[in-house]
Symmetry: C2
Subunit: 224 residues, 2 copies
């Protein structure tokens, strides 16, 4: 019991699934707001806020207030290094089992991942888009194919608008262990799905439930 620094305190902060997901999301290097982190972690905003204040008190995060936004970021490279070390061990000891979160089930099929669609359907969609050369994939990088503009314009999505965010991004899907489509295009597609009422979001959850006709429409447009 030669106890120096309180390692258990720090480890237990990372030891909660919600907090671990938040830290994981912040490993990208960009600071995120409480709402975004709540979405990432799959918890409600009050819960996320509570976790964030714990992480702050533990010294793992920094906070930058900008107007009504509060951007949380990792406290520094040392914290990032620690998380990498833990991640290394975690994948070394092997993927034991996918720990089911509070709300699982339909989530594996389709769910929201921040602002885009994730889950089996999203993975299948990206596969098909790449197969049809509408999107060009090079490992982690995804670019628009020559027919992309016309293809998406046909369903009312403009891929030429240039926001600060990249149009396409690969996002690793935890349930299928393969990538799905993120970026503004991913976000636009999710918008489309919800606007057309092909699916609805489960209340207070990230799950996305397709109606039978909605599923057919989705398959026709993206999986044909």
């Amino acid at each position: 019991m030669r106890e120096g620094p309180d390692i258990a305190r720090i480890a237990s902060l990372v030891g909660d699934p919600a907090r671990a997901n938040m830290l994981n999301a912040l490993m990208g290097g960009t600071a995120l707001t409480a709402s975004e982190l709540a979405l990432e972690a799959g918890v409600s905003l009050p819960t996320a806020s509570s976790h964030l204040s714990k992480l702050m008190e533990g010294g793992l995060l920094t906070l930058a207030s900008q107007g009504r936004h509060r951007y949380y970021g990792l406290a520094g490279p040392q914290v990032a290094g620690m998380i990498e070390a833990i991640t290394g061990v975690a994948e070394a000891v092997g993927p034991k089992r996918v720990r089911p979160g509070p709300r699982d089930g339909a989530m594996r099929v389709a769910r929201v991942c921040y602002d885009h669609l994730a889950g089996e359907q999203a993975v299948a969609m990206l596969d098909r888009l790449v197969e049809k050369d509408i999107l060009l994939r090079d490992d982690r990088e995804i670019r628009l194919g020559p027919s992309a503009a016309s293809h998406f314009a046909a369903i009312g999505i403009d891929v030429d608008a240039k926001p600060r965010r990249p149009v396409c991004r690969a996002c690793l899907d935890w349930s299928v262990r393969r990538s799905h489509l993120a970026g503004t295009l991913g976000a636009a597609i999710l918008d489309k799905i919800l606007q057309e009422k092909w699916a609805r979001r489960e209340k207070d959850s990230r799950a996305v439930i397709f109606s039978p006709p909605g599923k057919q429409a989705f398959d026709r447009v993206f999986l044909s």
Copy 2:
């Protein structure tokens, strides 16, 4: 929520104080038995056993059975590296407060550390023994001084017996942050204290309670 390896699972294993203490103790590199680890962690043997099986299942420990002894050790350098990383963050964010274990209080004054005495009294004792040149200290290494044999023989402790364990060892005291005396000599001194009934062990605890006359005797022999 791009969840790859289950980092929360690993971190929560380290996140329990008892388990953290065990892992800390194993950072020395030598494998220890369940009993020793129970003592290190300040928990009962059943509790320790439960923790150890969790750490085993989590892949953080290895087990070597030798007869009726079961030696637990860290699973590898990667695990050790992770613990170091966590420790680094823990001391970077500052020693917030010494989290009091289940049983604190008298523990800071005097307690058992495996098989020898720890706490303020033990630290004072080592200081005095070095001051009197009975023991010679060189940083972490402690050797017997020229007068050691006769000094300890006078109180019935034979320092010439040569077991496999070193006679003297420095052991870092978590409550005072300085070293106290371990090794067979440390163990013999604790035996002496208990045999002479200068002190008694608190039931189901590591605390060691000196009686007033016992304290006087101890001071006379070791602190004069």
